[in-house]
């Protein structure tokens, strides 16, 4: 059940109508059942994996909290992590590793009589696995206390708005909202509706239309420099629109129900360096990797070389998290190298990169090219294909008539994203200006703000309706 399908819209409206008429205890039951139904629409068999994960982590969490012996606590933590990662490894990575081992064996002339299992990847497995692990790890480190009711914990693991593509929530944030009384407010509803609208706009108008340019560039046999360049840029906006769109819809839906999810994207293409980028892109994953992998590995506390090694390991595993393929490992490696180079440069010059200043647009533009090369690695069908793109670009950038039309189409898709991001990035200065204006004209600002929201919303809805792609394409991050 995709967010961008009518089935989901109907499903959500039905759940929402019932939700509004229930008290909190029944609301939680409703959300749990709805989450299981939502997941069953993909494949009911894989629901069992979620239930296993839920049971294991629920009892491991309780075990850690109730036992006094540090050794036993550690054992409970290990059980939880091993079961979750075991499920993840079998269902996501088994075939990949096996096929690579078989390849290595074949190089030595050996032909072992084993073959890959052709296991289907359960949707959203990486997201709920990480969420469940964070719960057990937080109890172990004393940051959280175990959930008393199994139902509430099950809802935390399977909460349908963020079940299949995040944001990856923490027990300290989401679980509290499930257990404690929550109240709806107009502010939440307005915010939620605005986020849902933005999310659908990013997905249906930007990402899905950009995918047509991308698919063409990455499947054509006559790759020219112009097609290659436009294809890479289009993919940068496709993946952003797709994933940020999903996250915003998820956050918006949660707001409409009185929940608040973490922000997953903060204008990532306005980043000026790799560190800045990872503070803006898929924030819930990067902070998860920082807290549960980089810091336990030693972080930056064990000397420079160890810091860089930790960075590389974290980014490599972050890449592998995205999928069982060499291109994702390479993508992780690429970002790891970029981060190490950045740290080396800042450590060497002892001057951290300023976040403002007149050079900022230039830095943004330069770093955007670095990000786009990463996306090229991410999107290519094979490692061999990666080099065809720079090769085509270096061979000459002559734009044919159709390429200009594609460029024009791409600009139509990109300009609204840039405007939305700039508005978000500079929300505080704009608000300050607005407040100053408010002081002199007390009645006007409300009208101005309402009109601005209304007009923007109307424009977005018109574009979604008239130009939105109706293929109902899957979200890219569902496969992770």
């Amino acid at each position: 059940m995709l967010f961008n399908s009518w089935v989901f819209v109907a499903f959500f409206l039905a759940v929402y109508l019932v939700y509004l008429r229930l008290d909190q205890n029944k609301q939680n039951w409703l959300l749990l059942v709805a989450s299981y139904v939502f997941y069953s629409f993909w494949d009911i068999r894989f629901l069992l994996l979620i239930i296993i994960s839920t049971i294991v982590h629920y009892y491991c969490g309780r075990g850690i909290y109730e036992t006094q012996s540090p050794k036993d606590k550690k054992q409970f933590l290990h059980i939880g992590v091993i079961v979750s990662l075991g499920i993840l490894c079998v269902f996501k990575y088994f075939d990949f590793f096996l096929s690579n081992f078989l390849f290595v064996f074949r190089q030595f002339g050996l032909r072992p009589s084993i073959s890959t299992l052709g296991i289907i990847l359960p949707i959203g497995i990486s997201f709920y696995t990480f969420q469940a692990i964070s719960y057990t790890a937080d109890i172990y480190s004393g940051k959280a206390v175990p959930c008393k009711r199994f139902r509430d914990f099950a809802l935390y693991v399977t909460f349908f708005p963020q079940l299949v593509a995040g944001p990856i929530e923490r027990a300290t944030h989401l679980l509290g909202q499930i257990i404690k009384p929550r109240a709806l407010s107009w502010e939440y509803i307005q915010k939620g509706a605005w986020l849902v609208l933005q999310g659908y706009f990013l997905k249906v108008f930007v990402a899905d239309n950009a995918s047509l340019i991308v698919d063409q560039a990455f499947s054509t046999r006559n790759l020219t420099g112009a097609i290659a360049l436009l294809g890479i840029y289009a993919f940068a906006f496709q993946i952003y629109g797709d994933f940020a769109g999903y996250s915003r819809i998820a956050r918006g839906i949660c707001n409409l129900m009185g929940f608040d999810l973490v922000v997953n994207f903060k204008c990532p293409y306005l980043a000026i360096n790799p560190r800045d980028f990872w503070k803006r892109w898929h924030i819930s994953l990067s902070t998860w990797l920082r807290d549960y992998l980089y810091i336990p590995l030693g972080g930056n506390r064990c000397g420079i070389s160890r810091t860089y090694t930790n960075l590389m390991i974290t980014m490599l595993l972050g890449g592998l998290w995205h999928g069982a393929a060499w291109k994702f490992i390479l993508w992780g490696l690429y970002h790891g190298v970029a981060l190490v180079i950045y740290h080396l440069l800042t450590d060497f010059t002892k001057t951290p990169t300023a976040n403002s200043g007149f050079l900022r647009p230039f830095k943004i533009l330069v770093f955007f090219q670095v990000t786009c090369f990463g996306w090229l690695i991410f999107r290519c069908h094979s490692i061999k294909q990666i080099w065809t793109f720079p090769e085509a670009i270096l061979n000459g950038l002559s734009f044919a008539k159709e390429d200009f039309h594609t460029l024009y189409m791409l600009l139509i898709l990109v300009v609204p994203v840039v405007i939305l991001d700039l508005a978000e990035e500079y929300a505080n200065p704009v608000a300050r200006l607005f407040d100053r204006f408010k002081a002199t004209n007390p009645n006007l600002p409300v009208r101005v703000r309402v009109s601005a929201y209304f007009l923007t919303g109307l424009c977005m809805m018109t574009l979604i309706y008239l130009c939105g792609y109706r293929g109902g394409t899957e979200f890219i991050y569902f496969q992770f």
């Binding site: 089935v7 109240a183 047509l212 063409q216 008239l466």
Partner: protein, 386 residues
């Protein structure tokens, strides 16, 4: 302090309850509004099959679109005349776009056979679409239904595109009450996932869902007619993206993997689908004629003619004719569609003769036809097999 906290919580809860109640009614009103608008738009766009609607076009389009499940309703098909022999033709773009059925009708009128050919063909239809269309036309109570198919109607590949089973979105009308009551439940269990079933049910409850692309196209035409201040070249060059429209489905550059003939294999459910169609025909006492169309080597696979013949043999009033061998490269440059009047005349005549022959077999032809001019007859097709 705690007392004031408690009272604020109570106030908040009261406010929350009030807000939830208000919101509940807003959402209910929204759903009812969408439902009403949806049915209003459906009534504005859709002709009833066999209805008495006006002949004027209900859309801004220059000609009725006949693509997608609502394509089935968007053309105003002639009304069934009870005193005349009615033959319904289900087929693909050859029947829909090449004026074959018009020619067949002219032949019937020239010969005064009293036959009405109702052309309900839809471009791109496959066997799944034909099954749904077949169920829908049972309400017409025709004398004969002709199902004209290419080999490719039995596989997901056509014209080097990989298409869904329901190529012309006929799954969107599968849960309409008349179809639901006629198609066996086994079909639904076999062909629909929960998601697809809900999607289809939504299309029935909110018909605007499947009219969506057509309404958008009309809005697009409406805007284009009014935005005339800019020069034509500017409007053509700087239009809004229309990548989403169904027409582009066929016009956009090929991005699906190219299929080779070796990869073409028939749906594993082909026999079941044919049986389900014939079972319905049997129950309604409706004769069916399958025609394998003339087509070139590009459409050689999957060859299911023997399977059709075997299935058809179980029902006395079902017939099959193979016209594939009447393909002529010069008449059909793209291996399917006859080009030019001469080729189309010959094509129509062949199909017409097969239909006449079938009607004769069924003793449904009350008026004997005059002899057809042999000058336009390029060969004698095999008479339909029982």
């Amino acid at each position: 302090m705690s007392r004031s906290n408690n009272s604020s919580t109570i106030e908040q809860t009261k406010g929350d309850l009030k807000l939830r109640k208000t919101l509940f009614w807003y959402v209910v009103a929204f759903v009812i509004g969408v439902f009403l608008i949806s049915h209003c738009s459906a009534s504005r766009y859709i002709y009833d099959l066999n209805g008495k609607a006006s002949i004027s076009s209900k859309t801004a389009l220059t000609r009725p679109l006949r693509f997608g499940s609502y394509g089935f309703y968007l053309a105003r098909y002639p009304t069934r005349q009870l005193d005349r022999t009615t033959v319904i033709l289900l087929g693909n773009s050859v029947y829909q776009d090449c004026h074959i059925v018009d020619r067949m009708q002219r032949l019937a009128e020239n010969e005064k056979t009293g036959i009405d050919f109702l052309n309900l063909a839809q471009t791109g239809s496959g066997i799944y679409d034909h099954l749904i269309q077949f169920t829908k036309v049972l309400g017409y109570k025709p004398n004969l239904v002709v199902v004209s198919v290419l080999n490719r109607a039995f596989s997901t590949g056509v014209g080097n595109n990989i298409l869904p089973k329901f190529r012309t979105d006929n799954d969107q009308i599968s849960f309409e009450p008349d179809i639901l009551s006629k198609l066996p439940m086994s079909f639904y269990w076999r062909e629909f996932s929960a998601n697809d079933a809900f999607d289809s049910i939504l299309s029935t409850v909110f018909p605007a869902k499947r009219l969506d692309w057509l309404i958008r196209r009309d809005i697009d035409h409406f805007v284009a007619r009014r935005v005339t201040k800019f020069p034509a070249w500017f409007r053509a060059k700087f239009s809004l993206p229309k990548l989403n429209l169904v027409a582009d489905w066929r016009e956009k550059s090929r991005i699906s993997p190219v299929l080779s003939d070796e990869e073409e294999s028939a749906y594993p459910e082909t026999e079941q689908l044919l049986k389900e169609m014939l079972d319905m025909a049997k129950r309604h006492g409706l004769p069916v004629l399958f025609i394998r169309q003339e087509s070139g080597p590009r459409f050689d696979t999957p060859d299911v003619i023997s399977l059709i013949e075997n299935t058809v043999s179980s029902y006395d009033n079902a017939f099959v004719t193979d016209l594939k061998s009447f393909y002529l490269a010069k008449d059909m440059p793209d291996h399917v569609h006859p080009e030019g009047d001469h080729a189309r005349n010959k094509y129509a005549l062949r199909h017409y003769k097969v239909v006449i022959s079938t009607l004769k077999n069924l003793s449904l032809l009350t008026l004997s036809p005059k002899a057809v001019n042999p000058a336009v007859w390029d060969g004698k097709p095999q008479p339909p097999k029982r």
